[in-house]
């Protein structure tokens, strides 16, 4: 008699890979339906669950490739990237990476970045909450100390840059979009901020300077270094307006303590 682990291993192989040998080894009671038909019920349920869950996470991808191809891609993704957890909230983040080398998607090189955008939106919805930073706290910092400040971004914040116009692609593929849905792939790339505010998750286009600035803050660099990077990316970068705007909009939610220096360890 096979052990419980052996039964479960064969069951999973039968469902995910449709392996006939695995089905035969399960010792399924015949009667009415064949063993393969019974396993097919489970295969349809399991693959159907993933298709449905990932279609909810990636509605624009599904629209871009069509329902049939989307389902085929999801089935292939599920085989290659097993779910490791009993909750589905965090499953599917590798879909963009998978699409970057999935042969049928080669003609659509922007798909992986669209997937990253949709995943960022999905995860922003379930990220931790945070209190806003009071502008007065910032105003109270002595001017000669400003450059040393480090900032905490809202836990929902994600910053995505792409050589493709993924924001425009995403916009015209929203169900409520009724206008012209053509996008010129040559119209240039995007630098995007995804964050959850009081009215839900928003996607915002950033200037090259603001993008470089927020990426630097997310990496816990000093304000002085973040400004340097922002100016390198965009000569007309406006620090005061950018900082105030992103504190008021709760992209930036707290001041961080500077990293403690550890004697004996050189950076």
């Amino acid at each position: 008699m096979p052990s419980l682990r052996e039964v479960q291993r064969s069951f999973a192989t039968a469902i995910v890979f449709g392996d006939n040998g695995a089905i035969a080894s399960l010792g399924i009671v015949p009667g009415g339906l064949g063993a393969d038909e019974r396993i097919a019920v489970y295969r349809n349920n399991v693959l159907g669950n993933y298709r449905k869950a990932l279609a909810a996470t990636y509605p624009v991808l599904q629209r871009l490739v069509g329902g049939r191809l989307f389902n085929i891609a999801i089935d292939a993704f599920v085989r290659g990237y097993p779910s490791a957890r009993g909750d589905m909230n965090r499953y599917g983040g590798e879909l963009g990476r998978f699409l970057s080398f999935y042969p049928p998607a080669r003609e659509l090189p922007y798909l992986p970045d669209v997937a990253r955008l949709e995943w960022a939106i999905d995860q922003a919805n379930i990220a931790a909450d945070a209190q806003a930073l009071d502008l007065a706290t910032l105003a109270a910092v002595p001017e000669n100390m400003l450059g040393e400040l480090r900032f905490q971004l809202h836990p929902s914040v994600q910053l995505i840059a792409s050589p493709y116009p993924i924001f425009h692609i995403w916009q015209v593929n929203q169900t409520e979009c009724a206008g012209d849905d053509r996008v010129d792939l040559g119209e240039g790339g995007d630098a995007l901020l995804i964050a959850r505010g009081t009215s839900g998750v928003t996607v915002e286009r950033l200037t090259p300077g603001a993008y470089a600035f927020l990426v630097a803050l997310a990496r816990n660099l000093r304000l002085a270094d973040a400004v340097e990077r922002a100016l390198a990316a965009e000569a007309s970068f406006d620090l005061s307006a950018t900082l105030k705007g992103h504190v008021a909009g709760q992209t930036i939610v707290a001041l961080r303590a500077p990293p403690t220096s550890q004697p004996g360890i050189s950076a």
């Binding site: 097993p82 957890r85 909750d87």
Partner: protein, 280 residues
Amino acid sequence: MPAIALLPHVAGIGLRAPHVARVVAERPAIGWFEAHSENYFVDGGPALAALEAIRADYPIALHGVGLSLGSADALDAGHLAQLKRLVARIDPAAVSEHLCWGRVDGRHLNDLLPLPLTEEALALVCNRVDAVQAALGRPLLVENVSAYLRFQSDTIAEWDFVAAVAQRTGCKLLFDVNNVYVNAVNHGFDPLLYLRAIPGDAVAEIHLAGFDASGPCLIDTHGARVAPPVWALYRATIERFGPKPTLIEWDTDLPALEILQDEAAIAQAIILERSDAVTA
């Protein structure tokens, strides 16, 4: 164990995302709600905030789908820790999971898969239920599942397996009447035989749902109204066990909240008939 407020012995409804805004805004007349635990394994955001708002006005049961009590793989400590955190936050009237498995060799299939009904599986499940109850510091409700196949290695009848889990671990049972009916049809047994084997004192909650009969066997889709023979079996269940908290589950092709309230009203009427008979 500290005293835990129990679910009221009335009909409730499964809380689903498309209905949440209405429930928060209108506070409809519903006895209690059940939420899928894993949907709230999140760090923050609007879904968790809405559940907390609803909890302020209704009893909540937390219903797990992913703990995989019957996996040969070890119990997922991270999953259990998330559940514990959610239980502390929501203070639910019941915490339930399924008598099934979902993960093997680290791959989770995120479905409710059938166990071989063997002494090996029974011992393993009881062990896991003990561990979960110890970790949560409260009884777990364990639910019987629909199954579309049986193993030749089975040595225990499903109803004896379910009863033994309750008896050995002291856990409570979430008795899913629709799953009993689906299995009775799919595997050819008398559902009343199942009913008679279940210790009524252990039953702390009942589930009702609709199945799909268009395929090669009955499939538990939670996508339709409760079928007439399932209502008949529910009536027999309430006659045998007395009034129990009863939940209408609906997941696929979710209709308007009013349809779920209609279904809950039918269950409520059956509960009341029985309560009246007891007090008469």
